[in-house]
Amino acid sequence: MIEFKRVSRSFMVGGQEVAALRDIDLNIAAGDYVSIMGPSGSGKSTLLNLIGLLDRPSSGIYRLDGGNVTDLDDQQQARVRSEKIGFVFQSFHLIPRLSAAMNIELPLILAGIPPAERRARVTALLENYGLTDRAEHRPDQLSGGQKQRVAIARATSMHPAVLLADEPTGNLDQTTGREVINLLEKLTEQNVTLIMVTHDPAIGGRAMRQLHMVDGRITNESNT
């Protein structure tokens, strides 16, 4: 599903080249549940951004679903993101002026899906995530857990093959955090590839594959 070959990413910081990722080789199969752990600055988020096609590698090759996606242009990248990748963020990233239902609908609108089908999918998603009575609430009227549920519903609205979660429980208390993790894990049962960046070893430890990163390299992989 996801295949990295000697992928590096470096940034120019103050005229100096700083390597964020060094020669990463990585294979993730469809339906895998992967957690990425490591101290800050170890390159976890950079790796996630590369997988999500929000960023481009400085060198190396990235294959997604068998196709080379290393050198896609903006339009093609956007299309792959729309069709294959879902994002869940630490700070939810809901649009404050839109209702929960509208936030969930957003990827469908952007993809140009007809209104009737959009409504059907949104209704189903609201129900799946227990948000039916919160459909018309704006994000500032929702609790943290509800916000993240809206975000997950939004991330899955296009039925992506890969779900990328960057510290999805970072802004939540333990109980709601665990609920959110349960929801995400349930998705892996439907053959969705879940890749999650986290600080929390208790959460990261639940993953099937656990990647430990230090200084831009994957130093250690443990499987459960």
């Binding site: 951004n49 999500g52 929000l54 960023d55 903006d74 339009q75 990248q77 956007a78 299309r79 993101r81 729309s82 069709e83 994002f87 963020f89 990233h93 649009i95 404050p96 002026r97 839109l98 509208m102 957003l106 990827p107 609108i109 952007l110 993809a111 140009g112 939004r154 296009m158």
Partner: protein
């Protein structure tokens, strides 16, 4: 992403910052409204003048003594010469031209009019029976000056409607005698009320035969000769003939001025149209200012919504789509602004029309189109840069809100 969805999304973001949106629309609509109102005023002034001129008569040529040269002071003026008078015979001679249908000589003066104990100052016009047709006047009561020898100084007069009212109140006044200066005149008719025309109120004049007026004012010259050409096409021929005939009669000296109504009208028309364009242009500057305001607001919107733009990119919106979204917002803003401005402007025009019924204020269609085009144009033009800026944002940094 469908067009309707783009519009809805843009509308939702405009609703998101309500006060800012309202202020923008206000700025835009004031710009459009000022273009509409100012050009309507200019156009109204133009139409007013044109109407006034046409009410003077049709195919009209005006002859007056003396020659106005545009090349400064003529030699005659320095020597203290006054131009040769136009005589009644000069006027009659004009009828020799085949292009001239009728003429009306005109003498003007002021005199005291009195009837019993009532008296007032009036403008007295001396003319002939033809004047009624040449000047497009109509009678309210009785008859106009009788046709016949222009040299006969009959003691009859025609009153303006206001003069009649003042002198005779409820009575018609026809057949009564009034005193003008040191002569007595019998009232044979009353003009229909026409109101003001070129600053000349026909309701407050008294018309007497031209020969009588000459005796009254002790002159022999004419103030004007009004000439009506046979048709619109013969205006040029008629004015050429008039000038030629009078030059011959004045021993080869071209000492009269012949103006056609059309020439005067065309000049006024040009001046007033230029004026309308000028005020319209000044108003359009406020539209440009509104456009820059839109740009400013859109730039602020882009920097305030960096995270949102990052999110849209992560959700699969390519740069082109982000550009469209911001573009749509600007178009909506200026579109709503221009519609509101149009309504505001037309309302203003209505109010002016109510306040000054004499002025035919109507916003010319070209000004309305130009106002809308300018507002949409500036709105679109000034949103290109912010939209591009939004579209170029790097998704990773944008999501981080940096």
């Amino acid at each position: 992403m469908k067009l309707l969805d783009i519009a809805q999304f843009a509308a939702a973001s405009l609703r998101g910052s309500r006060s800012r949106t309202l202020l923008m629309i206000l700025a835009m609509s004031i710009g459009v409204a000022s273009v509409v109102v100012l050009t309507a005023l200019g156009e109204g002034a133009r139409r007013y003048v044109v109407n006034q001129f046409s009410s003077l008569g049709t195919n009209l040529i005006i002859v007056f003594p003396g020659r106005t040269e545009t090349a400064g002071i003529g030699p005659g003026m320095l020597l203290g010469q006054i131009p040769r008078e136009l005589s009644l015979d000069d006027a009659q001679a004009l009828l020799r031209s085949p292009a001239i249908a009728r003429i009306a000589p005109l003498t003007i003066g002021t005199s005291q009019i009195s009837q019993n104990a009532l008296n007032r100052e009036v403008v007295v016009l001396g003319s002939t029976s033809e004047m009624l047709k040449v000047r497009h006047m109509s009678m309210g009561l009785g008859q106009f000056l009788p046709a016949g020898d222009v040299h006969s100084s009959e003691s009859v007069c025609v009153l303006g409607s206001k003069i009649r009212r003042e002198l005779f109140a409820q009575e018609s006044g026809i057949g009564s005698w009034v005193r003008l200066g040191d002569r007595r005149f019998r009232v044979i008719g009353v003009l229909a009320s026409q109101g003001e025309s070129m600053g000349f109120n026909t309701d407050e004049i008294v018309i007497v035969p031209v020969a009588s007026a000459h005796m009254l004012f002790n002159t022999s010259g004419l103030f004007r000769i009004l000439v009506e050409a046979k048709s619109r096409d013969s205006i040029a021929a008629a004015s050429r003939d008039a000038e030629q005939i009078l030059t011959e009669r004045h021993h080869g000296e071209r000492d009269v001025t012949v103006v056609t109504q059309d020439a005067v009208l065309a000049t006024f028309d040009r001046i007033l149209r230029a004026l309308t364009l000028a005020v319209g242009g000044i108003a359009a500057i406020s539209l440009a200012v509104a456009g820059i305001l839109i740009m400013n607001v859109m730039l602020i919107a882009v920097s305030q919504r960096v995270k949102e733009i990052g999110l849209l990119k992560a959700l699969g919106a390519p740069a082109a789509q982000i550009r469209k979204l911001f573009f749509a917002e600007a178009v909506l803003l200026s579109g709503i602004g221009s519609v509101a401005g149009l309504i505001l402007g037309e309302a203003g025009v209505l109010v002016i029309a109510k306040l000054y019924p004499a002025l035919p204020v109507v916003a010319p269609w070209w000004a309305v189109l130009a106002a809308i085009a300018t507002s949409l144009g500036t709105g679109i033009m000034f949103s290109v840069w912010p939209a591009r800026r939004a579209a170029r944002l790097d998704p990773v940094t944008a999501l981080a809100g940096r």
